[in-house]
């Protein structure tokens, strides 16, 4: 009898521990979800309350803030993403191809350093572009330096490892038998990559690019040191096919959506706080569009089941 009671007690204790600890795990999940739900809830409710079409068409108005918009910030963010893509896509995709094709210590080192570069804080990239580009330029020619190019360079440097890593992961999913078939028919390696592997993986590569864009679109810290921000559309006169045209200027301080959110949020003006919430919603919508486009790009592809 005594033995059986002790076993029962032991079993009861084990069952209780099991129950309590599993309960803790469920509770932890609920706490995490509630906190994160609160972030999304306030973002949606405050953002929807203050969003309006004028934000997309007008410039900031410092006399009647409620009549102002953030058109130049939205345009600035899109331009920065364009410049960043021009810098990072060729390097990222070619580098990703190298990491799939190459083996050995060097390829391993490249892969490892890609991850390390991915983990470097964005503010460090920002201060680097400041030290390497903005500061030297401004020393030579006061008033210059901060520019769309500098901001695009910072975001581009952040995108390179992201694109490289996803390209590599996707290309690795392409069945090796496809490559072997192509090589066996006498195709060269570049021809096999260009005509066989890349077309198969196209959706996946585009997904990687979209996710990288979504990731850098909201970066603020590097922009503090590179584009400075402003409240107007910088333009310049350009000569297009003999005609004088006014085009957006890149070689000067420009603005971007995340920077505008930051400046309005830390300022004292309540009406600017409202615009900051709406701008946050616009930024999130942009990021969501990139992410959804990423999902759409993979749909129906050969690699869908992965």
């Amino acid at each position: 009898m005594a033995v059986s009671t002790r076993t029962d007690l032991h079993l009861a204790r084990r069952r209780t521990t099991n129950f309590v600890m599993l309960g803790f795990c469920v509770l932890a999940s609920i706490v995490a979800l509630v906190m994160l739900g609160l972030v999304l809830y306030f973002l949606a409710s405050q953002g929807l309350k203050h969003i309006s079409p004028r934000l997309f068409t007008r410039l900031p108005n410092n006399i009647d803030i409620k009549q102002g918009g953030i058109a130049h910030s939205i345009f600035g963010t899109l331009t920065l993403l364009g410049i960043a893509s021009l810098i990072s896509l060729p390097l990222g995709i070619l580098g990703g191809i190298y990491q799939v094709e190459a083996r050995g210590r060097f390829a391993f080192a490249v892969r490892f350093l890609t991850d390390v570069l991915n983990g470097i804080p964005s503010i460090v990239i920002g201060i680097f572009v400041y030290a390497a580009y903005v500061y030297p330029l401004s020393q030579r020619n006061p008033g210059s330096g901060f520019s769309g190019y500098a901001g695009g360079l910072a975001l581009g440097i952040m995108m390179i490892p992201l694109v490289m890593r996803t390209t590599e992961e996707i290309l690795r999913l392409v069945p090796f038998s496809l490559r072997e078939a192509s090589l066996g028919l006498g195709a060269t390696r570049w021809r096999t990559m260009w005509s066989i592997v890349l077309p198969v993986a196209r959706g996946g590569v585009i997904t990687g690019i979209m996710l990288a864009l979504a990731r850098v679109a909201g970066e603020t810290a590097p922009l503090l040191f590179t584009i400075l921000g402003n409240e107007y559309f910088p333009t310049k006169q350009a000569n297009v096919l003999g005609a004088k045209v006014t085009v957006p200027a890149m070689n000067t301080a420009i603005d971007a959506l995340p920077l505008r959110i930051f400046n309005y949020a830390v300022g004292p003006n309540l009406e600017q706080h409202d615009i900051a919430w709406a701008a946050a919603l616009i930024l999130i919508a942009m990021i969501l569009i990139f992410s959804i486009a990423a999902r759409y790009a993979t749909r129906g592809g050969v690699l869908e089941e992965h």
Partner: protein, 346 residues
């Protein structure tokens, strides 16, 4: 979302031999063609190789430029720059220890809050949750990892700070807790909102999705047979998790936490927006404003004058760079070896 350390190392065996065999048995082409194909493949190999070199180039370029531009303060202060406890632009004295301490302290608060919650959630998602819960929750967590830090900062200023002020700081300050011996330093201050505590909480909220996602991936990669063996011996579900699953994944989970720590170290915008940016009278005070390395950078930069002051700020960036590299290397190595172990055990 983009950090998926497991995937990189779980890869098929090289197929080089097969490819080479295929190349060797192909029909001999005419005399003019080999040169052309050699050129094509050489250009292809060279281009892709050069592109992958850009990674080395960028890291070296960052290290070189940051060192070069911070030479004035490196020459003037040497190692005292890191240990100096006073930063005064007007007097021209630059010591970053208060900022380094702020970074460590806020990240520590964040880890204390985030690690139990993230691990609990990761265990729930990988071991307990049925599929209809797991899929949407995983999606939500990935979504939250995609929210930019400036938006967490915005939320922090207008939602978190009022909440902490009314529901946490004032009640604690009005309770006998601050008068207890030993902890009084932690509860100094007026508790108006912007504070070290707020920075720690916002960091915790930001790294929870990240640590959860990475540890869940690691837990799910553990072979089923391990769990089945444990259940077969009569272990309860928790005993299986505690004695089989978690020990198996231990170094990978530590790696995930260190990666989260790395993010907390470098996080700028959200922290800058809620920490208050003042040198605290007591570095341990939870309810007083403080500084971290990155928030000091973001905050002091706009009014920096060229010369020693700018150089000092760039050297703060250099310190952050070195710390980030070290943290990442340690974490990646841990995650890599766990993945390798799991591969081997299969």
């Amino acid at each position: 979302m983009t950090d998926r350390p497991l995937q990189g190392s779980v890869r098929p065996k090289p197929q080089k031999v097969v490819a080479e065999a295929a190349a060797a048995t192909e029909p001999q082409p005419g005399p003019a063609r080999p040169a052309v194909r050699r050129v094509g493949d050489t250009v292809y190999g060279g281009l892709t190789f050069a592109a992958s070199l850009s990674i080395f180039a960028i890291i070296l370029w960052i290290a070189w430029k940051l060192t070069e531009q911070s030479l004035p303060t490196i020459r003037a202060y040497g190692f005292r720059f890191v240990t100096g406890t006073e930063w005064d632009e007007v007097k021209g004295v630059f010591g970053v220890w208060p900022f380094i301490f702020g970074t460590l302290y806020s990240s520590f608060i964040a880890l204390v809050l985030a690690v139990p919650i993230s691990l609990g959630a990761a265990i729930f998602l990988s071991e307990l949750a049925p599929r209809w819960i797991r899929t949407p929750v995983t999606f939500l967590i990935e979504l939250l990892a995609a929210i930019p830090s400036v938006i967490y900062g915005l939320w922090g200023i207008f939602i978190l700070l009022p909440f902490l002020r009314e529901k946490v700081m004032q009640p604690i300050l009005n309770s006998p807790l601050p008068n207890l011996p030993g902890v009084s330093g932690m509860f100094q201050g007026y508790g108006v909102g912007p504070s070290m505590l707020a920075a720690g909480v916002i960091l915790a909220i930001m790294i929870i999705p990240f640590i959860t996602a990475v540890s869940r991936d690691i837990l799910r990669a553990i072979p089923r047979a391990q769990r089945e063996a444990s259940y077969g011996m009569g272990a309860t579900q928790w005993e299986t998790i505690q004695r089989v699953v978690v020990p198996y994944a231990k170094s990978g989970i530590i790696g995930a936490v260190i990666l989260g720590l790395g993010r907390a170290f470098g996080e700028t915008m959200a922290v800058t927006m809620v920490i208050g940016n003042q040198t605290p009278s007591n570095p341990f005070a939870l309810f007083e404003p403080g500084y971290t390395m990155s928030s000091a950078l973001a905050n002091k930069f706009t009014e920096a004058s060229p010369g020693l002051h700018t150089a000092a700020l760039i050297e703060v960036g250099l310190v952050l760079f070195v710390v980030a590299i070290l943290v990442n290397i340690v974490a990646r190595v841990l995650v890599f070896y766990t993945a390798k172990d799991i591969q081997g055990g299969r």
